[in-house]
């Protein structure tokens, strides 16, 4: 290994090398974990509200049954494949770092549940579909984890007055898939509520590739004095974004603060370390290394430490993320998003700015390097 290679420097100055690498790695870990927790909160809310709307849209009129004319009109539109009568209720679903959320339970007719689940790629992994007259419910695995519900358990406001789901339902099936929700039977629900009319709300399944056309049509429906509510992919996504906006703003502030503090610290450390080595640089310049060669070497040293720290930080983040997931978040039905391109771009700011803050003062110092003054010992 050549005497002036950067690896030789790292090996012979382990404490300095490690101190910088550790600072970078730990701050990458911190930033990565913060991104991961928030993104996962967002994602947990996303899969209960927005994700289902990739497969269908829903429409209803507040406090009353859905207007027959609207239903007929919907059926006539050539982008709607099916219009299913439905009612949507919610069950509490706690998401860490988020205000209380509800996961939707769709009340549908017996055959429609089967059909919609097929459409949404939801696979029953335990139990069976609900049967009429028995107040049965099937739920996504994340909900069962989140609420600690097993097959045969009962859930509802009759048992727990804090529960949003009115009445009492028995869990008879657990399914898996990208959307997090539950299904129960519309007939039981209508009997309880003494509703006679066929449609209370409607779930509209679009024909293939017609979701956007359907949603455009729904958005253009007259508002019926504001009583008509429409829930599409765009509208649910927008309202989630509104909720998350302030959270992301806080996140950006935290990111900037962490990045600023770390890069200023690294800048100081680099300056101190390089300042202590000015005899070395003066000698090298005197015996014929150009300023540029000396600066390039310093630059390579700073970059190397930052990149090694960054990679180490990513490895630590993956380990910590997996551990958090296995022991904390997956059991709560809120699995973490371990990997996202966003995490990399955000955390990469740490080595980027550290290199910048590390190299600029060193560069200024080396630019003014005066080997004669160093040799004469006046500085």
């Amino acid at each position: 290994m050549n005497p002036l290679s950067i690896i030789r420097y790292y090996l012979n100055n382990k404490k300095r090398f490690i101190s910088i690498v550790i600072v970078i790695a730990l701050s990458v870990l911190l930033l990565y974990t913060i991104q991961m927790l928030l993104k996962s909160t967002d994602h947990a809310a996303y899969v209960v509200s927005v994700e289902p709307k990739k497969f269908f849209s829903s429409v209803g009129i507040n406090e009353t049954v859905l207007d027959k004319d609207i239903v007929n009109d919907l059926k006539k539109q050539n982008f709607a494949e099916k219009v299913l009568p439905a009612a949507v209720v919610k069950t509490n679903f706690t998401i860490s770092f988020s205000p209380p959320q509800g996961a939707p339970i769709f009340m549908l007719k017996e055959n429609d549940i089967h059909q919609l689940m097929g459409r949404m790629n939801l696979k029953l992994v335990k139990g069976n579909l609900p049967k009429p007259g028995r107040h049965e419910v099937i739920i996504h695995r994340n909900i069962s984890n989140n609420k600690k519900l097993k097959i045969g358990d009962k859930v509802g406001s009759k048992l727990d007055k804090d529960e949003w789901l009115e009445g009492e339902y028995e869990v008879v099936g657990i399914f898996e898939g990208s959307s997090v929700l539950g299904f129960s039977l519309l007939d039981d629900y209508m009997n309880d509520k003494h509703i006679r009319y066929e449609y209370i709300d409607a779930v509209i399944i679009p024909k293939k590739n017609k979701l956007e056309a359907l949603n455009n049509y729904l958005e253009s429906l007259p508002s019926h004095d504001g009583k008509l509510w429409i829930s599409t992919y765009d509208s649910t996504k927008r309202s989630l974004e509104n909720v998350m906006e302030s959270v992301y703003m806080l996140l950006t502030t935290v990111n900037i603060m962490v990045i600023a503090i770390v890069s200023i610290c690294i800048g100081f450390l680099c300056y101190i370390y390089f300042y202590q080595r000015r005899n070395e640089f003066g000698l090298l310049n005197a015996i014929g290394y150009t300023r540029q060669q000396i600066i390039n070497r310093a630059f390579a040293e700073v970059c190397g430490m930052n990149i090694i720290g960054f990679i180490l930080g990513l490895i630590l983040s993956m380990i910590v993320g997996n551990l958090l997931n296995i022991f904390l978040f997956a059991p709560k039905g809120q699995p973490l998003q371990l990997w996202d391109f966003d995490y990399i771009t955000k955390t990469f700011c740490i080595p980027l700015f550290s290199i910048l803050f590390g190299i600029i003062p060193v560069w200024r110092m080396l630019k003014r390097l005066n080997p004669i003054a160093i040799i004469e010992g006046v500085v």
Binding site: M1, N2, P3, L4, S5, R8, Y9, N12, N13, N279, E280, G282, L283, L284, N285, A286, I287, G288, Y289, T290, R291, Q292, P371, I372, I375, E376, G377
Partner: protein, 224 residues
């Protein structure tokens, strides 16, 4: 003739109204294979002359000619390249890099660990009687040993010119004489310029030039 300084003047503090003439119209010629001593009291301008002749400092007026090159008309980087490939430097202080072993310090000039370079370095260390210390770090050496490593570093590239500024100032007399005898061995292949205020180390030099207040005067070598 290998290196020549013509009408060299160096003025410090020219823009500060506090002018110090470090050199006044100095002419100096060195020929291949000679060892020249430069002697004079502290502050007389010896180091200034060495820095100018080696291309580390630009004179206020006058010019330095090295082989077929004129220092005043080549770039900093070109002068650096000449220093690296053709000159060797020994300073009063050793300027060893503290985190590198002795052998790595010697090889810093070429920044190479090829076998040929390593064995050449070991030969020089052997001549300097410090071969057994090659794996040690500078802080594990005595002052005299450190200066020998610095000398080995200056000799490793077979320099055409060796510039030594008070190379023995930090050594006791016995060590100083030993070190000088190693430097003198390189006389056949190199031109050697030794700056000192200690006449006794110049016993074997071919010429002695004395510097007084920025002016030079050729001396008769009393030892010859």
């Amino acid at each position: 003739m290998i290196i020549e300084g013509k009408e060299l003047t160096l003025v410090y503090g020219i823009d500060k109204d506090d002018e110090t003439y470090a050199l006044k119209n100095v002419n100096i010629k060195l020929t291949e294979g000679e060892m020249v001593g430069i002697i004079g009291p502290s502050g007389s301008g010896k180091s200034s002359l060495l820095y100018i002749l080696s291309g580390m400092k630009t004179p206020t007026t006058g010019n330095v000619f090295y082989k077929d090159m004129v220092f005043g008309s080549i770039s900093d980087n070109e002068r650096a390249k000449i220093r690296k490939q053709e000159f060797g430097f020994i300073f009063q202080r050793h300027f060893l890099i503290d985190y590198l072993s002795v052998i790595d310090n010697v090889l810093v000039t070429s920044n190479s660990k090829e076998d040929a370079m390593v064995s050449k370095a070991m030969t020089i260390l052997e001549k300097l009687n410090i071969k057994q210390l090659s794996r040690r770090r500078p802080y594990e050496l005595s002052g005299g040993q450190r200066q020998r490593v610095a000398i080995a570093r200056a000799l490793i590239n077979n320099p055409k010119v060796i510039f030594a500024d008070e190379p023995t100032a930090s050594l006791d007399h016995k060590n100083a004489m030993e070190v000088m005898s190693v430097i003198e061995e390189y006389k056949q292949n190199s031109t050697i310029l030794i700056v000192t205020h200690d006449r006794s180390i110049l016993q074997n030099s071919d010429r002695v030039i004395s510097v007084w207040d920025g002016c030079i005067k050729e001396e008769v070598n009393q030892y010859k």
